[in-house]
Symmetry: C2
Subunit: 252 residues, 2 copies
């Protein structure tokens, strides 16, 4: 990726919080969903980290990345159990108290039958002082936002609902467009010419991904950038390169 | 997770290197495979990071995490194209030159027909000075290991072959065992009792994961640790807790 493009677009980091990802119990799918959504909004995802349900690690990591990127998205750890410590950690990171959020409290009083709002569930009504809410259109209590940190659930369909509810509010740059040319050639065959094209289009991010789906080696050549015309020119050069090497290019 | 258990077991970090993960083009599945394998070997995966194909970022990240953990596993960026810069970055991180590896060179001379081993492919024969090879039983050149850093391919089936080829060499602790109790109760119902059980078994890592597969709320309660007897005792308490709350527990 070119440094100029990276500097222009707002940046983001995703923190996936949860022992279940690090233990291998759960395959994370939230990062991919957020990554696609950020690209559409013109926000450049620079980094993602998966960290355990450990308060000191969460606090230190949040403070490290929120100083570095325009947006930080966290997933996981906002439920009612002992391992759900994200809200208190974010409060610690921002050095503010964790306070009962009246709006969430009212929602929960409505949701649960008398006696159902036990102590554990009530924990989910606490947010860091000064946080605003991230709507949860699916099920359960909302997420929240404080400063540039957006805190969402870990369950994928709930996380997706929350992200979709706030994505339009993100201050992005122009959308990052992507075009993919498939060719029936091994990566090593196109590598040299592709590198030359990348050098001529430093503002684009050109990637090469081998695939073996149909038995013989194929390569997907992915071009990304914000300038439609330059992207089209580079795609034209890639198509020409593939043809000149005896392959039949197909745009996916 | 208890601090004592975390201190006893060797630790690891996974670095997923590749713009394609951060752009959302590709759903990473390598982390999950490595995570499961490390748990079996008794190596505790403490952190994972997804970082872009950017030399300065790769070098700084590798140097940060290799000082902190017993093992660092990287995936991605060892192919023949311009965006494959992992080997040169690892060399820079270790302050050693990148040198032609005679063993890989011989393999490649055998593999390609005369003239097929072009300049781009030859790049894959270079490894940091002092590196040993990580066999690639699937296709293409091997990965390598230098110090505590193990460098593997990004294509999942190749990465899996490499990881399987070296996993027996890892100096692990006792395997991290996992047992899961499913219950037809919402997380908020079991939360209090579960937290009390966690407090009585600080050496275990007890997690709670809501699921909505069959319409009504269910919760999977996952208990992890290295001591079979203590794990069995805790599972017994969890089963008893679920029954006492009117749910029918099922061990998965």
């Amino acid at each position: 990726m070119s440094d100029t493009a990276a500097q222009r677009a707002p940046t983001a980091c995703v923190l996936v919080i949860g022992n279940e990802i690090l233990s291998g119990r759960t395959q994370d799918v939230n990062l991919n969903y957020i990554a696609k959504g950020l690209a559409e909004r013109g926000v450049r995802l620079m980094e993602a980290r998966v960290i355990p349900d450990n308060a000191d690690i969460i606090v230190a990591t949040v403070n490290g990345v929120r100083a570095k990127y325009d947006y930080v998205f966290t997933t996981g750890g906002i439920g009612p159990t002992h391992d759900d410590i994200t809200a208190e950690c974010i409060a610690r990171a921002f050095s503010v108290p964790l306070v009962l959020n009246e709006e969430i409290h009212r929602m929960m009083l409505k949701r649960y039958p008398p006696g159902g709002l036990n102590e554990a569930r009530l924990r989910m009504a606490y947010t860091p002082q000064g946080a605003s809410l991230v709507p949860n259109p699916i099920q359960g209590p909302p997420g929240f936002r404080i400063g540039n940190v957006i805190v969402m659930a870990g369950v994928p369909r709930i996380m997706q609902g929350m992200f979709d509810a706030i994505r339009h509010e993100l201050n992005g740059g122009p959308p990052i467009l992507s075009r993919t040319v498939n060719c029936p050639l091994a990566e090593g065959v196109v590598a040299k010419g592709l590198g030359e094209i990348q050098a001529r289009y430093p503002e684009l991010d050109i990637g090469s991904y081998p695939t073996f789906g149909r038995g013989a080696p194929e390569t997907n050549l992915v071009l990304r950038g914000t300038n439609t015309a330059r992207l089209a020119d580079a795609v034209g050069e890639v198509v020409e390169l593939v043809r000149s090497l005896g392959g039949k290019p197909t745009e996916l």
